[in-house]
């Protein structure tokens, strides 16, 4: 696989497990993304979104303090937040969690463990929407 041409889009990766953020960032770099921000919890995710308005967000649903759903809810209320393409990681999610996420509007769901194929498909859906 060859590294693709650099994309101008900003991505935000939110996960409380650092190696998971690194893996996802590496995969995204392979797909051509250069501007990747990381956050280890809900609060810092919202701070980073406030200042940089990423258009693609990978959001882990089970995190201490603020859950992914709470982050998503807050994000949708922020300026530019209703346009962000959010991909929700739903490994341990209950059916109700998934339904609520759908109501709040998500671009896609992804289950751990991540692999390149799944990430590529979801990024494809994002690109299709933004084109």
């Amino acid at each position: 696989m060859t590294t693709q041409k650099a994309r101008p889009d900003r991505v935000l990766v939110v996960d409380d497990f650092q190696p998971m953020r690194s893996l996802l960032s590496t995969m995204l770099r392979q797909l051509g993304f250069e501007y990747i921000d990381q956050a280890h919890n809900g609060r810092s995710a919202l701070e980073r979104f406030e200042s940089r308005k990423q258009t693609l967000v990978f959001l882990d649903i089970s995190m201490p303090d603020m859950t992914g759903l709470e982050v998503l809810r807050a994000l949708r209320g922020m300026e530019g937040g209703d346009h962000a393409f959010v991909i929700m990681q739903t490994g341990d999610a209950t059916r109700d969690n998934v339904l609520e996420a759908k109501e709040l509007g998500v671009g896609g769901f992804i289950a751990k463990p991540y692999n390149m194929q799944k990430v590529k498909e979801l990024v494809g859906a994002y690109l299709k929407r933004t084109q």
């Binding site: 696989m1 190696p19 590496t26 995969m27 209950t94 059916r95 751990k112 463990p113 390149m116």
Partner: protein
């Protein structure tokens, strides 16, 4: 009757008649007493958990021993290894109770120690007089405050091992007689055994819950790091981070295989933990089994090709839909076919078949392997049980697959069993209740006379 019994005694026949009446009355009393004892043991044996057994005791003993309250204390060891008597349970008609559950005192040096060593119940028919002789006895002071005036203390000994005590207490002095002791002694052994059994059962349940929690936490914390490892291995193998030479590719292939197996095990453990602690959520919806089974046969067929095994789908008639969680039922069929592949020789056929009758839909997976010996069939579905057969291509197994299959099928209201396939292989059959909403049969009409 033997001669001796019929020999004339030279006594008045009326006296003889009266003696016979007495004997018969005594026998009747004895029968009633035995019946009462049987009832007592039956009742207290009903409960499985200690608390259930104890709750039965309070009412069960009423017909054979008088009391206003009953207490049970069990022996345990404290942190220093000292034998302690801990009050486990108490039921009373009195309002106040100073020696309730949780109260504990050392066995050594207490009057209970003597009762335990002799094995003889102790009657105190005047507790106020008893306190005058033993002014320091705290427990006597306490129960007097509760209004207790006489007591019967019985040791509980299960198969020679002291377990604890049962205390019968009465608000009336001079309540207890040697006859009560004799009655109690007849079921003392059984009572002690039942209490010990239920205590162990309760402890087992607690440990099992602890095990499930531990399993869930451990597996959850392993899953994320494993996922990262697998993801990087995947990236490296695709040469996304640079070209690999042949030796490096081989190493990466081994790493991918091993991390895949570990992830499989962790997922199985999480499933077991979720199922056993009741956290499994089924998302049931009407499922078209015809399409579902065709998809399963196709996707598993690709895996089976590695051993030149063909998967044949047999659906003589279209199947009705069932209310099922498609993903979980997929896991069931996946596991059964993977199991069949594991024990099948190369170049054989695995048959995935479906049929239905009035109440059930049957899905079976048959192979042409060695089959499961009859004596192994029942425990095959227990966790970590492996049969005597070995996988034909050195495949590994966690020993959890079939137990997960059984739990998932049971969660659907169904059942699973294994028998012999025509031709001698193993045949696993899953039975699911027919979807009541879509296919309900009309109730049978009463025949008109």
């Amino acid at each position: 009757m033997p001669d001796k019994a019929g020999q004339p005694t030279g006594q008045d026949p009326r006296e003889l008649q009266q003696a016979l009446v007495e004997v018969s009355l005594r026998l009747e009393r004895r029968v009633r007493e035995l019946e009462a004892l049987v009832t007592v043991t039956e009742r207290i044996n009903r409960g499985l958990l200690l608390d259930e057994v104890l709750d039965e005791i309070y009412d069960a003993f009423r017909p054979i021993i008088p009391y206003d309250r009953i207490g049970v204390a069990l022996l345990e060891e404290d942190d220093c290894g000292r034998k302690m008597v801990r009050s486990q349970w108490m039921r009373s008609d009195n309002q106040a109770a100073h020696i309730g559950p949780g109260y504990a005192a050392p066995l050594a040096g207490s009057s209970l120690e003597t009762i335990l060593s002799t094995g003889e119940p102790r009657i105190i028919n005047d507790l106020q007089a008893h306190l005058l002789h033993h002014p320091k006895s705290r427990s006597t002071q306490q129960i007097l405050k509760d209004g207790v005036r006489s007591s019967l203390t019985c040791p509980l000994v299960a198969t020679g091992r002291p377990v604890g005590f049962i205390f019968f207490s009465s608000n009336t002095p001079n309540t207890y007689r040697d006859a009560h002791v004799a009655t109690f002694q007849q079921i003392a052994g059984q009572l002690a055994m039942i209490l010990e059994k239920s205590r162990l059962y309760q402890r087992l349940m607690e440990l099992n819950e602890l095990k499930n929690r531990f399993l869930g936490v451990a597996a959850h914390d392993l899953r994320n790091p494993l996922g990262v490892l697998g993801g990087y291995v995947d990236l490296l193998r695709q040469e996304a981070l640079g070209p690999l030479n042949e030796a490096q590719q081989e190493v990466m292939a081994v790493m991918a295989d091993v991390t895949g197996r570990m992830s499989g095990l962790v997922d199985d453990l999480l499933d077991v933990s979720a199922i056993e602690s009741g956290r499994l959520e089924l998302e049931r919806a009407p499922l078209d089994l015809n399409r579902f089974l065709a998809d399963q046969a196709h996707s598993q067929g690709l895996i089976a090709q590695g051993k030149a095994i063909r998967i044949a789908l047999e659906l003589p008639e279209p199947l009705p839909s069932v209310a099922a969680d498609g993903q979980r039922l997929g896991q069931v069929i996946d596991n059964l076919i993977a199991n069949a592949i594991k024990f099948s020789p190369r170049d054989t056929v695995i048959t995935l078949a479906g049929s239905a009758d009035a109440d059930w839909v049957q899905i079976s997976v048959s192979d042409q392997g060695p089959g499961v010996p009859a004596e192994e069939r029942e425990r095959l579905f227990e966790p970590f049980q492996r049969g005597s057969n070995t996988p034909t291509a050195d495949e590994q197994s966690t020993g959890l697959g079939l137990s997960i299959v059984q739990k998932l099928v049971q969660a659907h209201g169904g059942r699973v069993h294994v028998d012999e396939a025509p031709g001698g292989g193993a045949r696993f059959t899953v039975q699911l209740p027919r979807d009541a909403g879509t296919d309900a049969q009309p109730p049978e009409q009463e025949p008109h006379a």
